[in-house]
């Protein structure tokens, strides 16, 4: 499979004849990063699968109007983040659960997850993450697991770099406290 730059993929996408092929290459290039980003948010594999598919379907619909001066990967991350948050919000509405109960439900899913291969301390870290507010959790995941630059995060989350740094440090403190007390 060819490894093309985003700009090349986008110009291929703008051509009607190579549109499907270009989109297929975009999915192949980003599907894993997007899936793992979503999976860390929704925990369950089946849910992550649905949200990932929806993310790429939305990307397909919006790609024609996509402005090439923006980065394709931050744009995809932005869609994925919004889709994940919407998914969790819908879950709260459907199950009539307050925030804390959804996080508890995710924690239970983590316990029973057949596709979790981490050790005890890794599981504890995931549970600690579920105690955080949604945005802090996203920031922590992007920084800690994906080692993303604050500037890119700033584009994805539409938040200033300073606020993101503060959010990350608060998240680290809370996790540290959780790990010490549990």
């Amino acid at each position: 499979m060819l490894h093309l730059e985003d700009s090349e993929l986008l110009s291929m996408f703008s051509d009607e004849n190579s549109r499907n092929y270009a989109f297929n290459l975009i999915v192949k290039k980003y599907q894993q990063k997007i899936y793992w980003h979503i999976r860390r948010m929704v925990i369950d594999h089946d849910d992550a699968n649905d949200v990932t598919q929806n993310t790429f379907i939305k990307a397909w619909k919006g790609l024609e109007a996509f402005k090439q001066e923006a980065q394709l990967y931050t744009w995809l991350y932005r869609i994925a983040t919004n889709e994940s948050i919407n998914f969790l919000n819908k879950k709260r509405k459907v199950l009539l659960l307050p925030l804390i109960d959804v996080e508890r439900e995710l924690s239970n899913k983590l316990e029973a997850d057949a596709y979790f291969s981490g050790n005890v301390i890794q599981k504890k870290l995931q549970k600690a993450l579920l105690q955080l507010p949604e945005k802090q959790r996203i920031v922590f995941n992007l920084k800690y697991f994906e080692e993303m630059k604050y500037e890119d995060m700033s584009t994805i989350l539409n938040t200033s770099v300073g606020a993101l740094k503060a959010s990350y440090h608060i998240a680290v403190k809370k996790i540290e406290e959780y790990l010490k007390s549990h």
């Binding site: 599907q31 899936y35 990932t52 301390i121 080692e147 010490k180």
Partner: protein, 147 residues
């Protein structure tokens, strides 16, 4: 995607987090990412095959507006029919009552009633004549007066 310097990222963390490391603890089913790409492609082609008219109709606002129009149209079309039918049925009931009343009318009863009236009239006249005679009234004079 550019990553920050891992040393800068991990080393600045407290000891506990630093010891855990940032390895991904989640897994996926085997060959999942090969099938994911195909599933996405299938879903997109399904969406493309669906007529744009269906997408238009399925839009919430359009759906509610059309539903409301259908309800209004239903009442406009069927309400006059229902009310006419109701009036018809009312008429039918009264017709039925009248029909029943007269169809069951006994002819012998009618004859008896008329005859009875005639007899009453005769008896009334006899009573009047008796009264006049008893009071010594000049009948001829009364008859002339009546003429």
């Amino acid at each position: 995607m550019k990553k920050t310097n891992t040393t800068e990222n991990i080393d600045s963390l407290p000891q506990t987090l630093h010891s855990i490391g940032n390895e991904n603890p989640f897994r996926v089913p085997e060959n999942y990412f090969d099938t994911l790409r195909i599933s996405i492609a299938d879903k997109i082609s399904e969406k493309r095959e669906t007529s744009p008219w269906i997408h238009f109709i399925l839009k919430k606002e359009i759906f509610y507006t059309v539903s409301l129009c259908c309800v209004i149209a239903f009442f406009v079309i069927f309400f006059p029919i229902i009310s006419t039918h109701y009036n018809d049925s009312k008429l039918s009931v009264s017709d039925y009552v009248i029909e029943e009343k007269y169809s069951s009318f006994d002819e012998d009863m009618l004859v008896a009633f008329l005859t009875e009236n005639e007899e009453d009239k005769t008896s009334d006249n006899d009573y009047l004549m008796d009264y006049l005679l008893h009071n010594d009234t000049d009948i001829n004079l009364i008859m002339e007066e009546l003429k």
